[in-house]
């Protein structure tokens, strides 16, 4: 269970495109690839804005004109590196307390003129803090709710699969 102690998520993908294009699409053209069902705005999404500089804002704009800023650009080093904050709380609201936000670092490494490796790390997840403690408490009943749950639910899944 080493995973449970880690406070970061890492993922890598290789794209058949030059590093500069990969960087630009990732940042300024974010709306073109961001999963459509993963917006924190309640109104239908009109656009996503990524201000391409350190200190820039990242925000969604709704069709009704409402805005939701959910990240701050911390490092902007085109075309190799970008770091932005993840200002979304465990209640899935915008986190006003910046001490309780995690961050995402993305590195763009040219493997060939038209091939780029993209390494993404979403780290400091523990900074989101107390919410998880509360959640653990909520489910950590005296009978040891967690004990054996995983194998049990796996068995259950097998049982319900035709």
């Amino acid at each position: 269970m080493t995973e449970t102690t880690s406070t970061a998520v890492r993922t890598t993908i290789t794209v058949d495109a030059p590093v500069a294009l990969a960087f630009t699409v990732f940042t300024e053209d974010m709306a073109s690839w961001w999963p459509a069902d993963h917006h924190i705005l309640q109104a239908p999404l009109a656009s996503m804005v990524f201000e391409p500089r350190a200190g820039g804002r990242v925000y969604d704009v709704g069709e009704d004109g409402s805005e939701c800023q959910w990240a701050r650009v911390l490092v902007h080093e085109p075309p190799h590196r970008v770091v932005f904050s993840w200002d979304i709380s465990l209640q899935w609201q915008v986190e006003e307390d910046k001490a309780r936000t995690s961050e995402v670092e993305v590195r763009f490494i040219a493997e060939a003129p038209a091939r780029t490796r993209v390494e993404l790390e979403h780290r400091h997840l523990d900074r989101h803090g107390e919410g998880w403690e509360g959640m653990r408490q909520a489910v950590g009943s005296p009978e040891g709710w967690a004990v054996g749950l995983q194998s049990f639910s796996r068995r259950l899944e097998n049982a319900t699969t035709p």
């Binding site: 995973e3 449970t4 406070t7 998520v9 993922t11 993908i13 794209v15 058949d16 495109a17 030059p18 294009l21 990969a22 699409v25 990732f26 053209d29 073109s32 690839w33 961001w34 999963p35 069902d37 993963h38 917006h39 924190i40 705005l41 309640q42 109104a43 709704g62 409402s66 805005e67 939701c68 800023q69 959910w70 979304i88 465990l90 899935w92 609201q93 915008v94 038209a114 993209v118 993404l120 979403h122 997840l125 523990d126 989101h128 919410g131 998880w132 403690e133 509360g134 959640m135 653990r136 909520a138 489910v139 950590g140 009943s141 709710w145 967690a146 749950l149 049990f152 639910s153 259950l156």
Partner: protein
């Protein structure tokens, strides 16, 4: 200015969010949840399926009842969730970049 920042994916739906919050208080069966939220039992089951798919909720058979609860390890939930999220996002990103690159080459 007032912002309308609701939820992300699985928690985007208000009813689903309510179900998630009720489960934060204690483990519950579908019938219990249906009494707490203004939707039908089948709708509750559907929401639970989505929450389970997102790794936010687990279920356990207790006698004749299937009881739902939040994942016992909070940070693992967030990790699973973000892992899934970034995988989906990066694959979508790859598709977009490569499509643009192909257009440039044409």
């Amino acid at each position: 200015m007032k912002t309308y920042c609701g939820a992300l994916s699985a928690l985007g739906d208000p009813t689903r969010r309510a179900i998630f919050e009720h489960l934060g208080e204690r483990p519950l069966a579908v019938v219990d949840l249906a009494a707490l939220v203004p939707v039908s039992r089948p709708a509750v089951s559907q929401h639970l399926k989505v929450l389970k798919g997102a790794g936010l909720v687990r279920d356990e058979q207790v006698g004749t009842r299937r009881v739902y609860s939040l994942d016992p390890d909070g940070i693992a939930v967030l990790r699973d969730y973000l892992d899934r999220f970034w995988n989906t996002a990066l694959h979508s990103f790859k598709k977009r970049v490569e499509q643009l690159q192909e257009e440039t080459n044409r």
